[in-house]
Symmetry: C2
Subunit: 520 residues, 2 copies
């Protein structure tokens, strides 16, 4: 068994650009428990009011797989441990497991703590002993252990011994600066293991892009706890990415980390965390990213369709991810063709329409379209080329006005005139911005003719500036995601005018729904 110890809520909060609300933290903790990590390091109750409130509220939550851990430092130099306010906050946090970090690198003792090597050992001993004597399970995070070992191995090992003597349940060896190599980590963990009989953990940072390798090397050398963060978030470049470590250990190396049946939740949990912290889910995350099993090279696609093992290191379903076949000039005609034939099975690679469609796609991609993320717009494009697209409405015009100062919450007003089978309809609406106002006015008009549109709602709206050095005159690509509860679809618009780009994506979203109904 390798204990998985997630620190998204603590070390993760030290990522550039990440800031949690208390509700965010609660939601993530519950998700991690459902997934089945052993420990959730949730914050430092003495450091800020948000963490203090979190620990108060988490007391009422029942967990089935995970223990909540409060994180804190050894007592300050030259005071009694019971007089340290941060230690007091740990006592009051309501958890049963506490992780204490202390210095294992002599440089940090002299240059940062500015105290003696002896006093640092006392700080470790007093803090761990005080908490274990109160009945807490205590882990000791040996900060900078590897750098410390390289500088002064006797002293680094002595800090572990001190924590052990004071009753710590785990000594966690930290590569805090992320500068170590896997072979070094392996050797140093081996010698720590030989020196002392305390369960060891590993806590690696990714500054050298080696945190996953270092964590696995430590496990191979005998560590039985891995500290890291889902999605690899964390201070600077981030902590060791548990989304890559868990499947490597569990699928490939056959260690038990989380309940077997939960491994297929990995992709979902990873996306959930990105959603909560409000960053785009990184498509290039190993195992769980959108691109992890996305094939683009023509020969790769051909081979994967013959035998998926040829270009996939694991079956994507094991971690809840999917295979994706991409379109592009390097993917060769056969990929685009298979996409086109999915939509229109009567076409072959020799049909003249096929060549025309491929030509048009290349032109549009040159102008910033990317059909990879907007399959519904691609569907409409193909249907239009084949003369099988039915236009359900015409736009006569829209006008949208935005101005300051404005009244109340509403800032934009839009007028939209459409016609359906020769019957015109003019509507207007207010919105909190111009796109919102246009969206409302358009739907108001169309729902009179197509009541089925009442079931459609927009679930996501993304804007990407394509050539951001064009400043306010730059091109933008807008992607809109829609749902009618039965299916989801994505559409796209590209323009130098964000309103036009949004409008085109909106029109496609509605036409897709209406065309699909008739196909069925």
């Amino acid at each position: 068994m390798v204990y998985i110890y997630d620190s998204v809520l603590r070390d993760g909060a030290q990522s550039e650009g990440i800031s949690y609300t208390v509700d965010d933290k609660l939601k993530i903790a519950m998700k991690l428990d459902e997934f089945g990590v052993s420990y959730i390091e949730a914050g430092n109750p003495g450091s800020n009011p948000k963490d203090a409130e979190f620990f108060k509220r988490i007391k009422n939550v029942k967990f089935k797989n995970s223990k909540i851990v409060a994180f804190g430092s050894t007592r300050r130099p030259k005071i009694n441990v019971e007089d340290d306010a941060n230690i007091q906050a740990l006592l009051d946090s309501g958890v049963s497991t506490i992780c204490i970090f202390g210095k294992s690198w002599d440089l940090h003792v002299s240059d940062v703590l500015r105290t003696s090597l002896e006093e640092n050992l006392n700080m470790i001993y007093d803090t761990v002993k005080f908490l274990t004597s109160k009945g807490f399970e205590v882990f000791f995070d040996a900060e900078h252990f590897f750098d410390g070992y390289k500088a002064n191995s006797d002293y680094a090992l002595k800090t572990l011994k001190t924590a052990y003597d004071a009753g710590a349940g785990f000594a966690v060896l930290c590569d805090t600066n992320g500068g170590s190599f896997p072979d070094e980590v392996y050797e140093i963990v081996k010698s720590a293991k030989k020196f002392i009989d305390i369960p060891l953990g590993i806590h690696a940072h990714n500054d050298s892009e080696l945190a996953v390798a270092n964590s696995i090397a430590a496990v191979k050398a005998g560590a039985s706890m891995v500290q890291g963060c889902m999605n690899g978030i964390g201070e600077r470049i981030g902590n060791a990415n548990l989304c890559s470590i868990i499947p490597a250990l569990q699928i490939k190396l056959h260690y038990k980390c989380i309940p077997e049946e939960n491994l297929k939740l990995l992709t979902e949990v990873s996306k959930f965390i990105s959603e909560i912290i409000n960053v785009q889910h990184d498509s290039r995350l190993p195992y769980v990213g959108e691109s992890a099993f996305a094939h683009k090279g023509g020969m790769h696609i051909d081979a994967v369709l013959k035998n998926s093992k040829t270009y996939e290191h694991i079956d994507p379903e094991l971690v809840g991810n999917d295979r994706k076949i991409l379109m592009s000039e390097v993917s060769g005609k056969s990929t685009i063709l298979s996409k086109i034939m999915e939509i229109e099975p009567t076409l072959t690679k020799d049909s003249p329409e096929t060549a025309m469609i491929i030509e048009e796609i290349k032109k549009l991609e040159y102008n910033g379209y990317k059909f990879e993320g907007a399959e519904a717009s691609f569907y409409l494009l193909v249907k239009k080329f084949l003369g099988k697209f039915k236009k359900h409405f015409d736009i006569k015009y829209f006008k949208v006005i935005d101005q300051i100062p404005w009244e109340n919450e509403t800032s934009a007003t839009a007028m939209v005139k459409i016609s359906v089978d020769g019957i015109e309809e003019l509507t207007s609406a207010e919105g909190n911005g111009p796109v919102n106002a246009l969206d409302k006015a358009l739907r108001k008009a169309l729902e009179l003719f197509y009541p089925v549109l009442k079931s459609v709602s927009l679930t996501d709206y993304k804007v990407r500036v394509l050539n951001s050095n064009g400043a306010t005159g730059a091109s933008v690509r807008v992607i809109i995601e829609s749902t009618d509860k039965n299916m989801n679809w994505s559409t796209m618009g590209v323009s130098t005018n964000i309103i036009q780009a949004s409008w085109d994506a909106l029109i496609d979203s509605i036409e897709y729904k209406l065309n699909k109904i008739e196909d069925e």
Copy 2:
């Protein structure tokens, strides 16, 4: 010496979302040459017209450090090598170095090539021999070598031997599916090295987040060429990231990879490539990302200011990157305080204004502001609190109208009325979108009063949807970057209305310039 072999232009083109123009490819090749990689794999001249055009145009470029490599496959089964059109395209490409990939995994021979193991060896031999006999330097990429070795080591090694016998200059061992571990790679490279006396290379993919570790392990086992991509782009999750491998090898392990004096260009080259391929430069790239040396935790900041080695694995200047001190609730008051005191040295941590400013920042951050990326807006905020902000103009109103159908290239018209010292000015302008029209109208009015603004231009415009599930009613954050040639500054606006958010960022940009002039 370890030869660095970059494939941004070939394997990189297989990344999801990446598509080059021929000009893009030329610019990147010239930049990589300036940086000093040994080889630039530039494409497959037989695979598409874009690559064919590239090879035609690159012939006229003089390179000082790098050789351009054309990439292609072994001949097809059961034909003569001289009858293979792709091989013919390689001959005509005008380069002196060719990289040929062939199959080393028996599964691929049987399931993908659908030919005999013997014929695959013939394909390797014939292709390499044909090209070496024409005077080319030929590298053999042993595709799936590690998976092949694990399945059938005799056969995998035989493919290397065949390439060697045919005169290949390097055999490059590929972890094509990215599923191997560093200790495996080390052992397998060692045994290949023992088996055959041909220089070895490594080509690793990052599907397990181990490509950097695997590349370094191969070098430690004796490989003397590393194939990868700058920024780690490439098929699926990407290729081994040369931006992490080069400094690890050169700074930490003392191998020579690129000219010593060019290492400090690493960050610039990495950013240049992102710029050309038009993706945001990933702030979490090790060594070269904006976050690589960004400190957020309060204790970290305190320590780094005492001794940077305490939380930095290398000196950021070695790779042309910078230290960054971030503001946030976890960074503690002292960080915000030092930022405030940079702007206003008279304040102390006990000044009542300081507490008010910190309070206000927390409120704004809660609403989606992030001063990390908009230091000029932060500057104005502090000045406003201190009553030291001078307002240079008032906005009476703006109105902006967007409509379709529209004439020509212009789609939006804006009116802006401002006043300066009681003198009103009403201007209007057309733009290719509403923000562009407003920007032009505002400048037209203000330049009458402040001619110095003629030197200011906008260099970047970024939009981030903050809660994208709010669909078209979502909040957006706009960041604008400005320059007057002497300095660059960033400002920000947040609103549910993208026009309002952009407007606020514009106003801040202009007020920053005008306030700064008076400070000097």
